[in-house]
Symmetry: C2
Subunit: 314 residues, 2 copies
């Protein structure tokens, strides 16, 4: 991605989200030395847990790399986090007395996009939530991703919510029976609307996202109710892709837990444009830290090494 | 409704909901003596606040009736509350060391239905939430009303949520502009998706229900986006009505804050069947208490007075 003057430098890329925090340590030539995975790291859901998960994932990655724990203070960290597009959360995280040599903070969308394309491009992230992001000519664009339940159409949580809405109507005799009804009841270990409510009412987006599995499986099996839900969600994701493609990104990728199964439901012209992500989001965090270092004047004068380093994570 | 042997008996009907608690005191001939209104009384949102609101509304009704406060202990209370169809909340409220002579507890749907029809019938309650209820030949049927945001289609909160979903898409350029967009932005004092999120994200159903006003106003003015939302919600309410009519209730009423404006959007054959409610829900609570007293053996032997008393709240 970029070439650095200091050849002894070690980087750690940390990608934090609502369910997991992933860390990867690489050297100045972007050789992967070790990885670590810890728990949730979404500052919107708690500062203490976020910094705890970041430090844990880093400690695990150091151990995996056979590096002593005190190496933590020598690492240059790139950290991509959900929620830090909100100034309050960005400032809270940026003022953390972190244990790294340096820490560069950005949104999880930006680091995912950098990882997927090693430069300009656009990503659709479809997992528990859904969001579109583009980084083109130094400008970022964020589309959707307004959260559950008012936004994030086409996401796992949205599919689960639509499934539950249908299920409650079907249990009232106000919607047709279907395979989806019985699969959702099985998953919720329920047989009445009251039991469904007790299991899922007021629960978080990740609880609803678990129900996306039966919705998309039933759609794949041709159940018309599930097909209608998945088509509606996928149409929104295709619209999101079209809007991102208007920005002329050199590449477009779809990532996140739902991406592999959502792909076949997208508009054909969108599927044609989808490219495999080149690297994982935590490697995008490393690229971000390297860009920041270069911008601060730590970069090499020659660009000869660029093509070499950028191919390392193919 | 029913005739009672004890002519000195005083009744209080108390209808508790998510925003208000209404009390009415009547004598044995169902003559209205006084009314009182206090704050929220939904046991799902707190036991202490519920009993506080019940006692306050009763004290206000006593004062309105020019009765001394200590009369509280002589009142036979009928109490209709949201949430008490859940056994846990019913038991919690039923074991309250209440200050009345007797207290008879039922769901707010049951008391609303008794008030609307002075006997068998069906009601659709459309306000912040939506629900269908029928009491026919001693059997109760509850339809819908599964709560926000997974249920309560066609309600004020649902309309507000659909409005916000559309608004966020329109702000992303993923939905057409409309009058509804500008009216919602005005009401939310916002101009960007982030501002909308700050105003409404994670808020309660009553916050969303306030947004139903611009949605239904725009629909009445012919805005196609708003029309589509209101039509979708009203179609569900019509389905709910059809399902209730299958139970052959002698009467069907629609009550709640949204009822007057939703009426014109319902299927014509449903509108034809709608009858004006005879009495308010808190009077339905009185009827419920009277029924319970009669069942316990306090009723008159003759039915001569029945027709007289049942006409008092026309």
């Amino acid at each position: 991605m970029v070439a650095l003057r200091d050849r002894d430098i070690l980087f750690i890329g940390i990608d934090g989200g609502g369910s997991k925090c992933r860390a990867s340590i690489v050297d100045a030539d972007n050789r992967l030395l070790g990885t670590g995975v810890s728990g949730p790291a979404n500052p919107l859901h708690g500062y203490a847990q976020t910094i705890d998960s970041i430090v844990r994932s880093a400690a695990l990655a150091l151990a995996d790399a056979n590096l002593p724990p005190e190496t933590l203070g020598e690492l240059v960290a790139g950290v991509g986090l959900a929620g830090v597009n909100m100034p309050r959360l960005y400032n809270e995280m940026a003022s953390w007395a972190h244990p790294f040599k340096r820490m560069y903070l950005t949104t999880d969308q930006h680091s995912a996009c950098l990882g997927a394309h090693r430069g300009d491009g656009a990503v659709i992230i479809a997992g528990t939530g859904s969001v579109g992001y583009a980084w083109v000519n130094g400008e970022s664009t964020l589309l959707g991703g307004h959260g559950f339940p008012h936004g994030d159409k086409g996401s796992g949580a949205w599919m689960g919510m639509e499934g539950v809405k249908y299920l409650l109507m079907a249990l009232d005799g106000l919607a047709e029976d279907s395979r989806l009804k019985s699969e959702l009841l099985k998953m919720l270990e329920s047989s009445t609307a009251n039991e469904v409510f007790e299991k899922i009412g007021g629960k978080s987006s990740s609880h609803y996202a678990r129900l996306a599995v039966p919705v998309i499986e039933c759609a794949e099996a041709g159940d018309p109710v599930a097909v209608a839900i998945v088509r509606d969600g996928a149409a929104y994701i295709s619209d999101l892709a079209d809007k991102l493609l208007e920005l002329k990104p050199p590449r477009l990728s779809m990532i996140g837990g739902l991406a592999p199964r959502l792909r076949q439901w997208l508009a054909p012209h969108v599927v044609e444009r989808l490219a495999e992500p080149l690297d994982a989001p935590e490697i995008g965090c490393v690229y971000f830290a390297q860009q920041c270092l270069v911008e601060e004047g730590h970069g090499a004068e020659t660009s000869a090494e660029k093509s070499e380093t950028s191919a390392l994570f193919g």
